[in-house]
Assembly symmetry: D2
Homo-oligomer: 332 residues x 4
């Protein structure tokens, strides 16, 4: 299998979906070994770093890409299978950023409060024990937390001539920040422009659901993924298939609308997989759906609807693409 | 251990939290074996039943109770440990009800659409295989789903002289509809009025997170619970402790506010358990929180914030009450 | 015309809609001259008063009433015509209350900020110049503001056995806090229980739309109103008719749902008045509707949809009840 | 005064803010006489036209522009004074578009309903009587409605390298759809990129507040505006000054967040104009603010906070720019 390695220079980072020339053209069936910088551009390295001094919110979530996928046309479905996510550093960072996060006033949830105090937490990675270490800034509390690498940001160029910041997710994917985007998962994205122009970034060594404070355990990541293309079949919202689950990610505000988008997306998927009538699928989803939040932080929030395959008859989503890519990944 | 059995007559059902005379007075430390009717009052028994003809939305979620807990005063904490939830019938029902549910216009999300078609699904319970059977109304699709009994509605009388429908959850608990309320869980509720006046009902043989269509696999339930009382310490929002997790339930609109309430509730709990500074707790929760939705259906939505105990140092919430009640339950 | 005067004693205030015995029984066609206490129970009298020390949020918006209207049955329409609203004191108060208001974290929009500073502003009323005087607490800024008396809280007992705080509006009316509720207006409310059991209170000497900080220019008010009853015809949400406008008030969260409720309510009203098809009414409303917010503060927000009569053909809402009451009021 | 006339060819329409080469470079102090096409690109001309056949939602709100303003740099304030808005045709159109509008399920408020029926209404303009004529599609109802020309879409290129559809408003302005944007108004927009790159379009012959069905009385418009530039002082959200009012427009979801943004924007403006402490400004705004909704339709809703100048001391916003431009306009 063809494997291409790519590490962007600092000048090559993309900060948007759309509006950027591709760094590479790749054929469907290609594997990529990519280096991705952390969400902060590597600028937070110590608990003494102040986010407001180090960060420019117009330059967070640097993207590795975009990649032009040969043959991809609007209406097609891009499949990205994440074969491996490997922390690229021995530490990671998280922070409270003024007027950013789920439990603070923001530019949009505009209130009269002063900003919460800004803080930076540095997590050391212990590769042997497979943990990152949380250290409280006040007091002596320390805690080992299992490493669970994931990608916060995966997306394609949006349609309608738009160029969108890598900070705000939408139908094109982007900064969905869901722990479901982990090694072993295949992400299906509708193609909006010729070549799809996908990019990835914003590695998290771990993240809780909802990502309350706005930043996960942010760390540079080595990403191995396989690119495939399905002609037609573009889903409205990003879909994820794992060995164990199907998932759909909706991104909007208020949070119930993000959830509704993911729910209707799953009802449509169940209809496609099993020929279920939409009302029957609505009923079935009501009894088997899982609804882990992704982020309640960005200008669009992201909600996930998942169903466990063990509860469902066997099916071949997108022609069995996930299983095929799983097998391909084992050959790398 | 003192065990009291109680099966309400039809006239004894309560339809509200508050505003109803207690059916019994119980001492802390009492176990109750209760029969609870299903959310529909047992009126949906066949796929031919039309919810709009059978149901009055002012009389759904019949409650068993309220029970007056001796010594309970405003500011105290009521602990209800669910020792056993046992389906009381061999079938259960679910339905789409006109202008009720998460993916339809409602009285509040008021739109110009006609109602979605109303439908009733009947699930047969197979006790041996521990499944309920989903049967699609259109086509031949059938599916066994594991039984996973839970209670939709658990609450106390609200404060401020209010009397609230058993359909809409709030700080006093009520119709939270979270799958976390299962056998083995202890629910902690702030007491608002003398005697607490708690009631339970709305058994579900299983339910997905979010309860999209508005009704779970609704079935009459035999409930065995132990009542305990903690002087003081009333949490603002309902808390749940399981052997594996701590959880807080927030109920409001929009959904992000329900989630925020549950998040701040959990930050407060982590502060109480470990003396963590609130910003440190915010950071920690960001990396370890789980956020399974409960319902996105009622006039107040319910969101859950959970943390797994295996990630945290050992602690004794409410003086170790959950472990104590777990032990007590084994003696029943 | 029969005019009854009523001034409640402090013990007679009602703090809820529903759950309280009527203070009087009145026949339709009766005029009432009522004294109403301010939202703070008269407890804020100086800029040195701290709301957190003076107020209990379970005892705000004291209501004068409830009044039992003879013959009123569920499904009927109560008409309350406000003939006169007259400030009952020469001063009024406003305040920022910790975790209450539109531009602060609250119990529901639960955030990690400290409360905004609490402040009390006292407004002197100049009856001759018909102004209240705003005095900034910092600096020398003073401003005369025209008196524009209105009632924040007008409602009936809710249905479904509920008892609801006078702080949170809903379909039964309550604390809608709209400047449309002024002298010359007729409010139409659906009756939910025998006798309707309406009450009024929470006078404002003036208020902006949205009531951002959560409290208007709050002052005791002498209220002269005429009670009438229309058999049947209960609107889902409160309606207001003025000489110049029709208005509907929706109360929910998020704010778009409050607005949607008021919009659909107005589409229904236009349909009733002119036989307009609902899609035609939707189109017409799009081009002529006014949408002044009422409050974005309470646990349910309130939004108003208004249409100007001068744009519409003449019509007789509720059989011309408003015009009739207007004429009656002139005889007082 | 320098007056430039510009009518775009069909190929020159812009469909985005940002991402488009300027059609002209203009100096501050220039007046422009512009022709703007209607939101539908002129494609709806008869009640028999079906929006789903005629429209592509990626090509609505064609923009006239963008114009590069010489000397404009990020952080500056662009002032656009609308001297005259003149209907350019004798008819206008409105429509219900499938899954678009305030009282229907949409791509984001994703529900299981079928689309509402799509309809097109054509309004004839009677220039002499200054009315447009509403004709119901069902029944005989006709109504003259006063012409009240306004621009739905006014904006600059966004920051952060983004390119945004002309359908969704945000901090850069765009499709705010507020009736406040009428002749005699000055709009102040923060400059994000060199040259500002502003454009205008989406003329409405009239519109109600909220724009419920999603489309106003949409008509081609001749726009006369004067461009000015203020160094520095960029407001976060668009501001509008009229002879009678100050207004701020916030655009977000849920609707309360759009409103909050406009409220905090106005508190900041009152602080700038009068040196008022922010809590005093919060209090004052609470009593004098008007809150007419703009649109509750787009992926971001728009809310307006207004204050009447007659209630306030005289002040010179942006150095008296509005009055200056008003005078300039009289010389055209």
């Amino acid at each position: 299998m063809n494997v291409i390695e790519f590490t962007p220079t600092r000048e090559q980072y993309a900060w948007t979906f759309g509006g950027v020339e591709p760094v590479l053209r790749v054929k469907p069936g290609t594997a990529l070994r990519l280096w991705t910088e952390d969400a902060f551009g590597g600028r937070l390295t110590s608990p003494h770093d102040r986010p407001s001094e180090q960060l420019d919110l117009h330059e967070v979530n640097p993207q590795t890409g975009p990649f032009h996928v040969e043959g991809a046309e609007p209406g097609d479905t891009l499949a990205l299978h994440f074969a491996e996510l490997e922390p690229a550093r021995d530490w990671a960072a998280s922070a409270t950023i003024p007027f950013f996060g789920g439990l603070t006033g923001t530019d949009r949830t505009a209130l009269l409060h002063d900003a919460l105090p800004e803080r930076t937490w540095i997590y050391q990675l212990d590769r042997e024990r497979e943990v990152v270490v949380f250290e409280a800034l006040q007091g002596e509390f320390r805690l080992d937390l299992p490493v669970a690498p994931m990608l916060g940001t995966v997306g394609v160029a949006p349609g309608g001539r738009e160029v969108r910041t890598s900070l705000v997710p939408d139908t094109f994917g982007g900064n969905m920040d869901t722990p479901e985007m982990r090694a072993g998962a295949t992400c299906f994205l509708g193609v909006n422009v010729e070549g799809a122009l996908f990019s990835v970034g914003d590695g998290h060594y771990r993240q809780g659901e909802g990502e309350s404070c706005g930043t996960a355990v942010e760390g540079a990541m080595n990403v191995t993924l396989i690119v495939e293309l399905i002609k037609g079949g573009a889903p409205l919202w990003p879909r994820i298939e794992q060995d164990s689950h199907y998932a759909v990610v909706g991104s909007s505000r208020p949070l119930e609308d993000a959830w509704r988008a993911s729910q209707v997306g799953m009802i449509d998927w169940l209809h496609e997989l099993y020929g279920l009538d939409r009302l029957d699928a609505y009923q079935l989803l009501t009894q088997i759906g899982e609804a882990p939040l992704a982020n309640v932080v960005d200008a669009n929030y992201s909600a996930v609807t998942k169903v466990a395959k063990r509860l469902l008859p066997q099916a071949d989503a997108f022609g069995g693409m996930h299983r095929y890519l799983r097998d391909q990944a084992r050959t790398l």
